[in-house]
Symmetry: C2
Subunit: 95 residues, 2 copies
């Protein structure tokens, strides 16, 4: 289950697309047999990552639980050199 | 330690002000003797809540640890009636 161009199969990176794109991506991972899906986001996308996790567990995968939430600071190279940005990783588990 | 108009003393609600306003509010709570400070935010302010927690522990209160992060969905009454919004609560502890 590799080679989809997105890195690890059970990780969904949240970007600037609409909410339901990411919800569908997470639901698809569970339907493909993953037990854990990790939702990752940085900066302003962090709010959307929380939305994605909540919508998945409240509307689509009702037996999914949030088993871990980690926040951190990452250094990324932006247009103005090295900048620090907050990041989140939300782990959803479905038994 | 009540009566500041913000409800529980050890809770900091994140709104639309600049980041450092909230960082200062959290640091002040710790300096006033609180062992736990809870940072709460809803909707788009969730990203800023994560920034506040990271800046407090990385730059100001170096022995503070994140001991709990909870996310949830809250129903609030907006201009268009009842809407659902994601929320986060980040607990920082300083021993």
């Amino acid at each position: 289950m590799k080679g989809d161009g997105k890195g690890d199969d059970n990780v969904v990176f949240i970007g600037k697309k609409g909410l339901m794109n990411y919800v569908l991506a997470v639901v698809t991972q569970f339907n493909n047999g993953e037990n854990d899906v990790i939702i990752k986001a940085r900066g302003k996308a962090i709010s959307r990552a929380v939305d994605v996790a909540e919508v998945v567990k409240n509307r689509f995968i009702l037996d999914a639980k949030i088993t871990d939430i980690q926040i951190s600071t990452e250094e990324i190279t932006g247009e103005e050199g090295q900048i620090k940005v907050s990041a989140i990783e939300i782990t959803l588990n479905k038994k």
